[in-house]
Structure formats: structure tokens, C-alpha cells
């Protein structure tokens, strides 16, 4: 029996993101997926937003595992495998982020899914949004696609992973979810951006 099984969000109840209330208030259509109440869509402008300005999506439902033996994972660059990003954080520690099924691939991990909330910020103005609250150098020459950067986001500890040229995954403490949503909405909103559902993210990724 895993002594830490109580960390895994595998209950019968509905798992909720710390940003659920704000997503609903912003007009999200919610759907139950893998036990989580997920904001899947907002409005008809999501695709346009992602192509021309910026959108952000709550992806806190992604599984997140901490492993203690990172093996040969490259520092600063994430590896994509088994539907997840494998990100080395320190010499002795790595994060695995992605499909819940990845739990089957990892031994001896601590499930930190609910410890970290996550937002995907995507679109041509994504870097500009980060520039409003984050001092990390996210230029392609410093943070290429797959680049993984632990650092401060909006004055709190976090991680930024560049999933694609204009698509970033930001992880932060889940208790700060409401705060980070407010910060991102303020920054992205001032640049003409808005929230998007996870379905729009997937559609745009498929288009690309």
C-alpha cells in the first residue's frame, strides 16, 4: 500500500481547480473529465484569440508527479514522453506533468497534482502577458520550445514550460490560484486577450 495514496486526487467526489469559480464567472462551460470539473469552452472567439492575441486556460487538472531520480533528464529542457512533460527541477528532483495515465509509468513518485495549479497561456502575445508579471527570460534564444524555467511568477514561486512557440504552461502553488487568475486576466485583458477552454487549446494545437 502506498503510504502517500491520500495525496492523489482519486476520490469519488468532483475535483475542482482553485480557479473554478473565476472560470465559471468568466462564462466557462464546465465538463467532468477524469474526475475533474474542467473549463472546456467559453465563447466563439477563443480560436481567434489564440491566433491573434492571447488566451489563457485553466489546466490544473493535469497530473503532476514529483520524482526523486531524474536520471538523464536534461536540465532546463523538458522531454515529452507517455503523454507528459518530464522536467528536471534540480539535480535530485523532477516534475512529470500531463496525462493522468502517466502515473502508470512512474514509480516512487509523490503526487503533487493538487499542490500545483496550472494555466496555459497561448497566442502571439503570450510572452507579452508574462512580461507583465514575470521576470523570466522567455525569449526563444533563452527559453526555446521545451524550455523549462523554475522561477518567480507574479512574485510567487512557479515554473514556466514553453510547450510551443506561442504556448506556455505555467505552474504555481494551488492556494494562489485565485490570485494568479486575477493577475493573468489583468495582464492579458489589457492586451486584448481572454480566457479559453481546453478544447480550443487542443483545436489550435491540432491546426498547428
Amino acid at each position: 500500500v502506498n503510504a502517500l495514496d491520500f495525496l492523489e486526487p482519486s476520490g469519488a467526489a468532483v475535483a475542482r481547480s482553485p480557479m473554478e469559480g473565476q472560470a465559471i464567472a468568466a462564462g466557462a462551460r464546465m465538463e467532468l473529465r477524469d474526475g475533474w470539473n474542467v473549463a472546456v469552452a467559453y465563447d466563439d472567439a477563443e480560436g481567434e484569440r489564440l491566433r491573434t492575441s492571447v488566451g489563457w486556460a485553466d489546466v490544473s487538472h493535469l497530473a503532476k508527479l514529483e520524482i526523486q531520480r531524474p536520471g538523464d533528464l536534461e536540465p532546463g529542457l523538458a522531454t515529452r514522453a507517455h503523454g507528459a512533460w518530464w522536467c528536471r527541477v534540480t539535480r535530485d528532483r523532477a516534475l512529470v506533468i500531463g496525462d493522468p495515465a502517466v502515473r502508470e509509468q512512474v514509480e516512487d513518485a509523490v503526487d503533487v497534482t493538487t499542490a500545483l495549479a496550472a494555466l496555459t497561456i497561448a497566442g502571439p502575445l503570450a510572452r507579452e502577458v508574462f512580461a507583465r508579471f514575470c521576470a523570466l527570460d522567455l525569449r526563444p534564444q533563452s527559453t526555446p520550445v521545451r524550455g523549462f524555467r523554475p522561477g518567480s511568477v507574479a512574485r510567487t514561486p512557479g515554473y514556466v514550460l514553453r510547450e510551443d512557440a506561442d504556448r506556455f504552461l505555467m505552474l504555481f502553488g494551488s492556494a494562489l490560484g485565485e490570485y494568479l487568475w486575477t493577475v493573468v486576466a489583468d495582464a492579458a485583458g489589457s492586451l486584448g486577450g481572454g480566457p479559453v477552454g481546453v478544447d480550443a487549446l487542443e483545436r489550435e494545437a491540432a491546426r498547428a
Partner: protein, 926 residues
């Protein structure tokens, strides 16, 4: 005034008019005008009143360098009219004049205030009689400053934000040198940002006949990928970080190489009446003509030390202005005095020795006292300047490796493009991009000869201003030296010269020259004042940026809001303080059941073969011998044996421990553990799951029944005893349930994934509804824990508190085989327990019902303070006031009477050394 015919390179769109008001009167402008150019074209000559003497001030530089045209726009003060573009409907108002710009009552200080307003006058003139100082202070504060903020807070607020920008190369200054430097670096492959103060890049070339080239280079720069920031002032240099202020945005530019192409600043001449409207710098005159199609006057006198003045004279003539005299210092003549009441009406010219004096009627005096390289930012970035005797100014002498300079600031004003090309290429090459440029060729300095202006001309004829911002005259510098302020840094602080909005652009060099004249030292010996940010005046709001206040909230927080909780800060968390009636909430815990959100507790997973040993080294008690499924209280001590934090530790299996900490100590404990782990290199892994797990404490006589309905666990006391920890499904979610109590009743602390916070909270309240369960907040929890005399670290302890003093000697296991943090100090502390001078934490009760303030003093018989109250509350359950206090150890006996001094009150209290409620823990363990 009619405009000149369209000028080549002008900024105006003559087909579009823009209307605004100045002091309520309508003004017609052209699109492309600045406020100042539009007002000047409309005949306005006085733009502001000076800081101290309230003298009339007119346009001087037309480049945002001087303080003369500061106005308020739509209520926001401190806007430079000469660089602020006009907008339809904007309301422009003058500053610093009452009741009007034309009739300013405070102008009386110019006429009669001289003897009363020397440097530091507010500390000299206005100190006697002393009882009137409050009146003086009010008066001085009322007349000081440049403009007033709008009264209403919401009218003073505007959206500002930071924008972090990393770059390979930052070029500061968008003149020809800066533009070419940016292009060269960008073409070599560098990521380049260029920041320029002007509304368009081009610098002096825009009004000096080089507008086509400047605009072409700006296009080339953009095409090469340079991010060009206009109307963007670089404010300082902080170890490579250069804040650039642009409207509502503060760009925090961090570049690997800095290229300063900040140009030079044309210097005024110091002579009698040199601040009179109608006295302008040659650059200002040229900008009015070339960019805005305005003839600055009809009859002009030009006084210069270089070719700049002569070039301005040519531009004036081309604009149809009669140039009636030119005084070129290189030929021994200069301007001694400007005459006029509201505006220049004549100039007195002559030699420096007063010979060949001549009065010339005119309405414009164009002056040029040479140019000083704008080295402030370079100096802030680590550059060093030295006095250039030939040029009469301070020039760059040395640059750090990652800083370059180009153009006039580098002394290359004669060939700015070549200078910029080289600087840009060098910056890129230093980053491994492009080719290294060849060494510079040609003569080192091809600039035309210039004369060094005198410190002052025409002294004795009237006020000769060295510092226009602060109204500091040549005589003031003389007085300050006489009074012993004989270094430039002291003089700056005493006279406030260079401390105004121009930040020394116009006055640093004149002040140094005057200091040299007064002290007999040479300028090199006097040196410059330390260059400090901000280089340009900037609103504080722009520096503040967006207010980011990282607030942690538990996943149950939405429920607290719905229940009407009073939410307050607790460390970096927002917590439910109470739900309206803290005493009733506390009572419910004793009578039926209560539920509190304790998700804020720090939670660490410590695992690995050496996990037990690791904890034994950190804590003064033992954990390696803790059985799986059991819990033990722990107090974390520093290496000085002082209490740092406390919490419980549950052993989950042989190699896994679950450690809780205080809410506010979670971060520090995690760092403490990590720090020692890195040092000891043990086979232990540490994971902070504080935010990943929600936690609630279900407590009260009905808690067991409620718990039994939420889980399959056998919750009987025999199976699930006090200090047991069990994993179970609670309300359908995986959880770790700890049988512990902080509030004195049977309790279960339930830890579960935060994503289920609201659902589990709802389920417990719903299940407990039949048992009169009630949510309780932080305040009732504090009452309940005080009844049990449980300490709150940081509240009842301070940085001197040891477990011995805090009535917990039992937790220190000095007989442990292993060394542990703080052991040596605690061994010594153990020897002093109860000794003279030692303090002990005790409980107390007050029979008369007064609740002392936390922090109130405990007094000895003779009234001297001997201790301090740390906590005090009224307990409805106990029907009395209870508290905790530090008292001398010899008084730590049940029944000892103590006196508490609380402001004017004297309260009699009685010491108690055991918990007020359930002292033997029978309820807790039942």
C-alpha cells in the same frame, strides 16, 4: 501668431486642427503640435512660475530637459508641455501661481524676499519665535512644490504596469549614433531595444537638417527588428537593469550589453536675468522653427560659445527673424544681462571684463553655453568621468566591459554614425555575433573649437540663475561656500541645486563652475555630484506598477465567503477569522461539534531510509522510534536552542513521515529542512505538499459520531486512539486522518487533496447537521487553544524563548544519542532553568473580568516591569478571563498573584501552571 510656411521635416499635420484649453481658455493647435508649441504659436510666453521666487518662466529647451514649461494636464501635475503632444479636449493648467499665471501673489518673494530666502532659509528665517513654527511649517508646505495632486483618490489613480524585457543590447538614446548602433547590433543578429526620450527617434538631427536621414535610419532600425521605444526615458541603471518609463508602462530592460547614446545637453549661460521669458537655448529655437513652423521672435540676439549659436542664427534668419547681434565668446563677447519685465525687451552685451558694453533691443535672446555630455546614466552603469579642460565639461574617461558609449556622449558628436556603427558592432561581437569592427581611424577629435563659458557674467546686475529648477542663484552658491559648504556634494544638499526636475542637466556644470570660482579650486578637483536615479522625473505610480498582492486561499475559501466569514490576513493566507460570533463558535466545539479549515498548516513529506534519523537531528525529541501510524508533537529549535516552530509528525510507514508546521512557519521550515538536508547529504527526500492538501479539524463531543458516518474507519477510542494517524476514505475521498487536538476536545484532523476542499467541507457540515455542528474560525480557535494553554509560536514565544522557559522541558531529550540542532545551547539552558533572571511562560486568570491587552506588562511589587502578557481572552466556557504571560521563574507557581499594567489600568491576576480546561487531557483522550 501665424505659422511659418511648411518646414522640411516638420511634425505638423496642417490639415488637422486639435482643440484644447489652457487655464480654461480655448487653444487651437495643429495635429503634431506639443502643448508648448501650440501655446507659443498662440502667443503665450509665460509658461510657469519658478519654484521659490515665482518668477516668470518661458520656453527654454523645447526638448523636455528643463523645468520651465511644467503644466498640469487633466489634473495630473508635472507634465512637460514641450514634449507632450496635444490631444483633443485636454485640459491644460498652469502650476505654482495663485490666482493666475499672469498675476501671482507669491511673486512678492522675488521683489522683497531675497534677504529672507537664502539657501536653507526655512531653517534660518522661520525658526523664531519657536512657537510659531507650526504656523510657518503649514505656510511653507502650502507654498512649496510644483502643483497639486487631485484631491480624490480615485482621480489620482491610473493604470500602470511593469513590462520585463530581456534583450541582448539596449541602446539608450535614439539620435543618429543610437540608431546606427541599434541597426549594427541587430543586423549582426542581436535582439535590440532602443529607448528614446523624444516622440520620434532622431535626436538633434530632426531639427538640425538631418531629419530625412534620421527618419530613414529609424525605418531601417525597425526593419532590422529593433524594438524602438519612443517617449521613453531611461531612468537609471541598476546592475544591468535599466528601467525605461514610457507613459503608463515601466519597461524593466535587462540587457547583456548597454550602449549609451544619450548625446549631450546644451548648457545655458549664467548672466543677469537669464531666466526671463524670451531667453532660449539655441536648440529650443531650432526645434520651434524646424519641427513646429514657429518663428520664436522678431528681433534676436545670439550669445554663444560654439558654432551651435551661429547655426541657430542662420536658422533664425531663414525663418525671417532679424538677428540684431551675435556675441561669440570665442571673440571675447557675451551677454551680461537680459532686460524686460514680463519678457525680454533688450540684451546687454559686452566683454567679460565689462568692456565695450552695448544694449540691444530685442524680443529673443538665444544662448548656447556649449554642451555637456549626458553622462549620468553612464556613471550609474559604472562609467567614470573626468574633466576635459579643453571643452570645459566632464567627459567619459572609463567604461565597464559591458557598457559602451556612442555619439556626443562619447565625444564623437562630429561623426555620430561612425561612432554608433562601431559601438553597435562591438556590443554584438562581445555576445558572439557579427564581426569585430576595425579600430577607429582618423583624427580623434574633429569638433570645432569652443570657448569655455565663465561661471557667471553680469553679476551684480540682477539675479543670475545657476539652477532654474530650484531658483538657486550664483549668489546662493557664494553664500553656501561662505557658510562652509565648500564641496559640491554639500553645496548640492544645502542649496538644492541639481535636485529639481532637470536632475542636473542644466545646472550641474554651472554649479561646479561657480563652486570653482568661489573656492579657487579647479573643476577637476571639485568633480561632479554622484549620479543618481531617476535621470528623468517620473510619476511614483509608474514606479509602483500594478499592485500584486499574492494571497493564498484554501480550496475551501469560497465556502467561508458564502458563510459570511470575516476574512483576515494570517501570514500570507486569507483566513476565516470568525463567522460572526466567536464565543458561540467556541462554545459549540465544547457542546456539540465544530469544524475549522486548517488547510494553511505547513505540510511536508519526509521520506527515505534515513528519514527518522533526519528528524532526530532536527528536533530535540525523538522520531526514529515513532511507530508507523502514530503521531508525536515536535518543537523545532534553532541552533541557539530557541523555539522556531512547532507541529505534529505522523509516521506513515518505516520510511515516510508526514510533518505539519505552523501556518506562517511553513516556508521557513521547508527552507530549514532543505538547508540541513543539503548539508548532511542524507538519504532523505523532502516534498512540500502544503498547498496540495486541504485540512479540516472536526472537534467536539459529537465529532466521533460524525466521523463515523463519513468513513468506514472504526473510530472507537480503542481502535483509533489519541495520537493515531490513519489513511482512509472520508466523504469518498482519500485522506489522512490524525487523531489530535489543539482545541481541547476529541478531534480529527482530516488531510485530503485540496481539489476536494469544498465537497468534503460540505459533506462534513451536512453529516454533522443533526449534531448541531458549527464552523468556527481562527478567533474561536485561539480561545480554545488558550484554554488548553497550547502556545502559539511567535505569539507566546519570541526569539529568546526555549522549550524550558515555555513550560515544555519534557520535549527536550538531552539523553538522545544523536546530536541535534540546538543541543549544546539547550544543555546550557537546562542548567539555568528556574535560576535567577530566567523567565517562565505561565497561565493566569483575572477574577474581575477585564481582558488585558496582549503585550501588557507584568509588574513587580515596586512597579517595574518584570514580564509580559502574550495572550488573553475571555472564555465563555470557563466564565473567566484567561491568559498567558512570561513572568520571573520564581513566580511560576499556582496561585501566585501578579499585577498587570495595561495602559492606565492595574489588573490583579493569579498564576496557573496547568491548562485551564481539561488539565489532565481526559477529554482529549476519551
Amino acid at each position: 501668431m501665424t505659422r511659418l510656411p511648411a518646414q522640411p521635416g516638420e511634425r505638423l499635420d496642417r490639415s488637422t486642427s486639435v482643440g484644447f484649453t489652457f487655464d480654461g481658455k480655448p487653444v487651437e493647435a495643429l495635429a503634431g503640435d506639443t502643448i508648448a508649441s501650440a501655446l507659443y504659436a498662440a502667443g503665450q510666453r509665460t509658461f510657469s512660475r519658478s519654484f521659490k521666487y515665482h518668477r516668470r518662466r518661458g520656453l527654454l529647451c523645447c526638448a523636455g530637459q528643463c523645468p520651465n514649461c511644467l503644466v498640469a494636464v487633466d489634473g495630473a501635475p508635472g507634465v512637460r508641455a514641450c514634449t507632450e503632444p496635444v490631444r483633443e479636449g485636454m485640459k491644460v493648467e498652469h502650476l505654482n501661481a495663485t490666482p493666475s499665471l499672469e498675476r501671482d501673489v507669491m511673486a512678492v518673494t522675488d521683489a522683497v524676499g531675497g534677504p529672507f530666502t537664502p539657501p536653507g532659509f526655512y531653517y534660518k528665517t522661520f525658526i523664531r519665535p519657536r512657537r510659531l513654527w507650526p504656523l510657518y511649517e503649514k505656510l511653507l508646505r502650502n507654498v512649496a512644490g510644483l502643483g497639486r495632486l487631485r484631491a480624490a483618490q480615485d482621480e489620482r489613480e491610473w493604470r500602470t504596469e511593469y513590462r520585463r524585457r530581456h534583450a541582448d543590447v539596449l541602446v539608450v538614446g535614439g539620435g543618429l549614433a543610437g540608431l546606427v548602433a541599434a541597426i549594427a547590433a541587430a543586423r549582426a543578429g542581436a535582439d535590440v531595444v532602443l529607448a528614446d526620450e523624444g516622440p520620434e527617434p532622431g535626436g538633434r538631427a530632426l531639427a538640425g537638417g538631418g531629419h530625412e536621414r534620421a527618419r530613414d535610419l529609424a525605418e531601417q532600425a525597425r526593419a532590422a527588428g529593433v524594438e524602438v521605444l519612443t517617449s521613453a526615458s531611461a531612468l537609471g541603471s541598476f546592475d544591468g537593469l535599466v528601467p525605461v518609463w514610457q507613459a503608463s508602462t515601466l519597461h524593466q530592460v535587462r540587457a547583456r550589453r548597454l550602449v549609451f547614446a544619450t548625446g549631450d545637453v546644451e548648457q545655458p549661460l549664467v548672466f543677469a536675468g537669464n531666466d526671463l521669458p524670451g531667453v532660449m537655448l539655441s536648440g529650443g529655437v531650432r526645434r520651434l522653427i524646424a519641427l513646429y513652423g514657429i518663428a520664436p521672435g522678431t528681433r534676436a540676439v545670439v550669445a554663444t560659445t560654439s558654432d551651435r549659436g551661429l547655426e541657430a542664427a542662420d536658422a533664425l534668419r531663414a525663418a525671417g527673424v532679424e538677428v540684431v547681434a551675435v556675441a561669440d565668446l570665442r571673440e571675447g563677447r557675451t551677454v551680461l544681462e537680459a532686460e524686460g519685465r514680463k519678457h525680454v525687451s533688450a540684451a546687454v552685451l559686452g566683454g567679460l571684463d565689462g568692456a565695450d558694453e552695448r544694449r540691444v533691443e530685442c524680443d529673443l535672446i538665444v544662448m548656447s553655453g556649449g554642451a555637456a555630455p549626458a553622462t549620468s546614466l553612464v556613471a550609474q552603469a559604472g562609467g567614470r568621468t573626468a574633466y576635459d579642460e579643453g571643452r570645459g565639461h566632464f567627459a567619459i574617461a572609463e567604461l565597464p566591459d559591458d557598457v559602451l558609449a556612442a555619439g556626443a556622449v562619447a565625444g564623437h558628436g562630429d561623426d555620430p554614425e561612425r561612432s554608433g556603427e562601431r559601438a553597435g558592432a562591438l556590443a554584438a561581437h562581445a555576445l558572439g555575433l557579427g564581426e569585430a569592427p576595425p579600430p577607429p581611424d582618423g583624427p580623434a577629435d574633429r569638433r570645432a573649437p569652443e570657448a569655455v563659458p565663465p561661471a557667471v557674467a553680469g553679476a551684480g546686475r540682477g539675479k543670475c540663475f545657476a539652477c532654474l529648477c530650484e531658483d538657486v542663484t550664483a549668489k546662493d552658491i557664494h553664500l553656501s561656500v561662505d557658510e562652509g559648504y565648500d564641496s559640491i556634494e554639500l553645496s548640492k544638499r544645502y542649496t538644492t541645486a541639481t535636485m529639481g526636475p532637470c536632475q542636473g542637466r542644466m545646472c550641474q556644470l554651472p554649479a561646479i563652475r561657480l563652486m570653482a570660482q568661489e573656492t579657487g579650486q579647479d573643476l577637476a578637483s571639485i568633480g561632479t555630484t554622484t549620479a543618481r536615479p531617476p535621470w528623468s522625473a517620473v510619476p511614483l505610480g509608474a514606479l509602483a506598477g500594478r499592485p500584486l498582492d499574492p494571497a493564498k486561499r484554501s480550496s475551501i475559501h469560497p465556502r467561508h465567503r458564502e458563510l459570511g466569514a470575516r476574512v483576515m490576513w494570517a501570514g500570507d493566507w486569507r483566513r476565516a477569522y470568525d463567522y460572526g460570533d466567536p464565543q458561540a463558535e467556541a462554545l459549540a466545539v465544547h457542546e456539540s461539534a465544530g469544524l475549522i479549515d486548517v488547510s494553511t498548516l505547513g505540510k511536508l513529506i519526509v521520506r527515505g531510509p534515513q528519514a527518522g534519523e533526519f528528524l532526530d537531528r532536527l528536533y530535540p525529541n525523538r522520531f526514529a522510534n515513532l511507530k508507523p501510524g502514530r503521531i508525536r508533537y515536535g518543537v523545532l529549535t534553532s541552533d541557539a536552542g530557541r523555539i522556531m516552530d512547532d507541529g505534529t509528525i505522523c509516521r506513515l510507514d518505516d520510511e515516510t513521515f508526514y510533518v505539519t508546521t505552523t501556518s506562517s512557519g511553513a516556508g521557513a521550515v521547508e527552507q530549514w529542512f532543505s538547508w540541513w538536508l543539503a548539508d548532511w547529504r542524507m538519504e532523505v527526500a523532502l516534498t512540500d505538499v502544503t498547498q496540495g492538501l486541504a485540512a479540516v479539524n472536526l472537534a467536539g463531543p459529537r465529532a466521533r459520531e460524525i466521523m463515523g458516518r463519513l468513513t468506514d474507519l472504526d473510530c472507537s477510542n480503542e481502535t483509533f486512539a489519541y495520537l493515531d494517524g490513519k489513511r482512509a476514505q472520508v466523504a469518498g475521498v482519500p485522506a489522512l486522518v490524525l487523531r489530535i487536538g489543539f482545541v481541547g476536545e476529541v478531534g480529527y484532523e482530516i488531510h485530503f487533496p485540496a481539489a476536494y476542499g469544498q465537497d468534503v467541507w460540505d459533506a462534513i457540515l451536512e453529516t454533522g447537521a443533526d449534531h448541531a455542528i458549527r464552523p468556527f474560525g481562527l478567533e474561536p480557535q485561539r480561545i480554545l487553544r488558550l484554554q488548553k494553554m497550547h502556545i502559539l509560536v511567535g505569539q507566546d514565544t519570541d526569539s529568546e524563548s526555549t522549550p524550558f522557559g515555555a513550560a515544555m522541558p519534557w520535549i527536550v531529550k538531552l539523553d538522545k544519542d544523536e546530536d541535534f540542532i540546538g543541543k549544546w545551547a539547550l544543555e546550557h539552558a537546562a542548567e539555568r532553568v528556574g535560576g535567577h533572571g530566567s523567565l517562565a511562560l505561565v497561565g493566569f486568570t483575572l477574577p474581575d473580568g477585564d481582558v488585558p491587552t496582549e503585550g501588557a506588562a507584568v509588574l513587580a511589587g515596586r512597579g517595574e516591569p518584570i514580564g509580559q502578557v502574550t495572550s488573553a481572552r475571555h472564555s465563555r466556557q470557563l466564565g473567566q478571563v484567561i491568559g498567558m504571560a512570561w513572568v520571573p521563574a520564581e513566580m511560576a507557581n499556582d496561585g501566585t498573584a501578579i499585577t498587570i499594567s495595561d495602559e492606565s489600568r492595574r489588573l490583579r491576576a493569579e498564576v496557573l501552571t496547568r491548562p485551564f480546561y481539561d488539565p489532565d487531557g481526559e477529554v482529549l483522550r476519551s
